[in-house]
C-alpha cells in the first residue's frame, strides 16, 4: 500500500487526519483500537489500512481471509460522545460506502444482504464489522472495519469459501488498485458516517433499493444454534430486519441470513443467486 499514491487520490478531511498505511498487520481493527486507547477523542477519523491481515476477523471471532496484495483492509477510529445506540447504523454506513466505491471505481453494482454484507453476483465481496467499548454512559471509542476483496482469483480463496466469495476481479469489475479503491471508499464513507451518527433512519432510507431481498422472499436467519424462518417484510427505520413469521411481523436485530428462497417469480433469479452466495 503506497501512502503517497493514496494521498494523490484522497484529500483528508476530518476523516484521515491520521492515516496509517501498512503492508501487513495482524488486524487493522486492533491497530485502530490502540490509537483510540492512546489518543482518546483525538483519534476520531484516524484511518488504518493494510494489504494483508494475519489475524483479521469477522463476527464472533470468525477469521477474515485477507492475503497480501489481493484486497484491502481498512479501519476507521471514531469517537462517539452520544449514547451507545447512536452507532447502531454505522455498519450500514460502511456497507453503503463499499457499494458506492464499487460502482465508482470498478463499475460494479452490488447489493446488500442484511444486515450489511456486500454481494456482487450473489457472492460476498466485502464484510463490515463495527466494534465498540461501552462503559456506562461515557463517551466511547468505536472502530469501523471494512474488508474488500479486490484481485482474488478463485484459487486465492480457501476451498470452502469459493462458492460464497468473490472479488472485484472475479466479478468482472474494472481493474482497481488498493490505493484507488481506498480513496473512493473514504470519499463515500465520510458523509455516510456523519449521517449514520446523526440520523440513522436517513441512512436506512438511503439503503432502500439496495437490498438483495425482495418482499415475500423466505429467509432463514441463523443466530447461534437456532434459525428463525420467515418472509422478508422490509427493513425497519432502525435498520432491523422485518420478518413475517406465523402471521406476525417481527423485528430481528441480529443474526446471519443463511438461506433465501424466492417469494415470487420476479424475485426468483435473485434469490437463487443469493442462495448460492449465502
Amino acid at each position: 500500500m503506497n501512502r503517497a499514491l493514496f494521498l494523490k487520490q484522497y484529500s483528508p478531511t476530518w476523516l484521515g487526519q491520521i492515516i496509517e498505511c501498512h503492508q501487513s498487520l495482524p488486524s487493522t481493527n486492533n491497530q485502530a483500537r490502540d490509537l483510540l486507547d492512546q489518543l482518546g477523542s483525538a483519534a476520531h477519523g484516524a484511518v488504518v489500512m493494510a494489504e494483508e491481515q494475519t489475524g483479521g476477523r469477522g463476527r464472533h471471532g470468525r477469521p477474515w481471509h485477507s492475503p497480501r496484495g489481493l484486497g484491502l483492509a481498512l479501519s476507521v477510529a471514531l469517537w462517539n460522545d452520544g449514547p451507545a445506540d447512536r452507532a447502531v447504523c454505522l455498519p450500514l454506513a460502511g456497507s453503503l460506502a463499499v457499494l458506492r466505491a464499487l460502482h465508482h471505481s470498478a463499475g460494479l453494482r452490488g447489493r446488500l444482504k442484511w444486515p450489511n454484507d456486500v454481494l456482487v453476483g450473489g457472492k460476498k465481496v466485502s464484510g463490515v464489522l463495527v466494534e465498540s467499548r461501552v462503559q456506562g454512559g461515557r463517551p466511547s471509542g468505536l472502530v469501523l472495519g471494512i474488508g474488500v476483496n479486490l484481485l482474488h482469483r478463485e484459487e486465492d480463496f480457501p476451498e470452502d469459501l469459493r462458492s460464497f466469495a468473490t472479488s472485484v476481479r472475479l466479478a468482472g469489475g474494472r481493474p482497481v488498485t488498493e490505493e484507488a479503491f481506498a480513496a473512493s471508499l473514504l470519499v463515500a464513507l465520510s458523509p455516510l458516517i456523519e449521517e449514520g451518527l446523526m440520523n440513522p433512519a436517513a441512512l436506512v432510507e438511503m439503503a432502500s433499493g439496495t437490498w438483495a431481498h425482495e418482499p415475500g422472499d423466505l429467509l432463514d436467519v441463523s443466530s447461534g444454534e437456532e434459525i428463525l424462518r420467515g418472509a422478508f417484510a422490509g427493513i425497519a427505520p432502525d435498520g432491523s430486519l422485518l420478518l413475517k413469521v406465523d402471521g406476525h411481523v417481527q423485528a430481528v436485530h441480529h443474526g446471519d441470513v443463511t438461506r433465501v428462497r424466492p417469494g415470487s417469480p420476479r424475485a426468483g433469479m435473485l434469490a437463487k443467486e443469493e442462495k448460492r452466495g449465502s
Binding site: 464472533h60 470468525r62 461501552v134 417481527q250 436485530h253 441480529h254
Partner: protein, 173 residues
C-alpha cells in the same frame, strides 16, 4: 368423536404451546381454547427452528420458542431455566450493568470460548464483561468499577432490551 377423543385432544392442547385448537370431523366441530387466553406479548415472539433440521410447523416446536423480552411475562418453563428467575436478596451497594441498546447478549468473544466473566469473579474497572450485538455492531460492555460479579441475569445469545439489567456487581466484594 367420543368423550375419550375429546380428552385426548385436551391433553394434546395442554402439552402444546397452542392457545386454541379447532377440529372438524364427520360433521362434528370442536373448538378448544385455553382460558384465560395468554396475555399478548408486547412484541411477537420469535419462532426458532433447530439449526439444520427440517422446518416443522411453527406450532409443533413450542420448546424452540425463545424467551420473550424482559418486559414480557416469561413462560413458566423458560423462567425455571433462566438465571433471571432467581430472587436473590440484593445488597444496597450492588451496581447494575445495563444493556445500552436492543441487541443480543453474548457472554464470550466467540462460540465455544470461555465466558468473559463468571459469578464470583473479581473484576477490574475497564474489564470486558460481555458483548451486546446489534446488526454487526459489537459492543464490549466494560466494568465501571472494581468489584465482584454476584449475579448474571441473562442467558448467552438471548435478546435483550434497552436498559435491561444484565449483571449485578458488588463493588465492596
Amino acid at each position: 368423536m367420543n368423550l375419550q377423543d375429546i380428552q385426548k385432544l385436551i391433553a394434546m392442547l395442554e402439552k402444546s404451546n397452542l392457545s386454541e385448537l379447532e377440529l372438524e370431523t364427520g360433521g362434528t366441530k370442536i373448538r378448544l381454547s385455553r382460558c384465560p387466553a395468554p396475555a399478548p406479548a408486547p412484541s411477537p415472539q420469535f419462532v426458532m427452528i433447530p439449526s439444520g433440521g427440517q422446518a416443522p410447523a411453527p406450532q409443533s416446536a413450542p420448546q424452540g420458542l425463545a424467551p420473550p423480552p424482559s418486559s414480557a411475562a416469561p413462560a413458566p418453563a423458560a423462567a425455571d431455566a433462566s438465571p433471571a428467575a432467581s430472587h436473590r436478596a440484593r445488597a444496597a451497594s450492588e451496581e447494575e450493568v445495563k444493556s445500552p441498546m436492543v441487541g443480543t447478549f453474548y457472554r464470550s468473544p466467540a462460540p465455544g470460548a470461555e465466558p468473559f466473566v463468571k459469578v464470583g469473579d473479581r473484576v477490574r474497572k475497564g474489564q470486558t464483561l460481555c458483548i451486546i450485538e446489534a446488526m454487526k455492531l459489537m459492543n464490549e460492555i466494560e466494568c465501571e468499577s472494581d468489584g465482584v460479579i454476584v449475579e448474571i441475569l441473562t442467558e448467552n445469545a438471548q435478546p435483550v432490551e434497552y436498559g435491561e439489567v444484565l449483571m449485578h456487581i458488588d463493588p465492596a466484594g
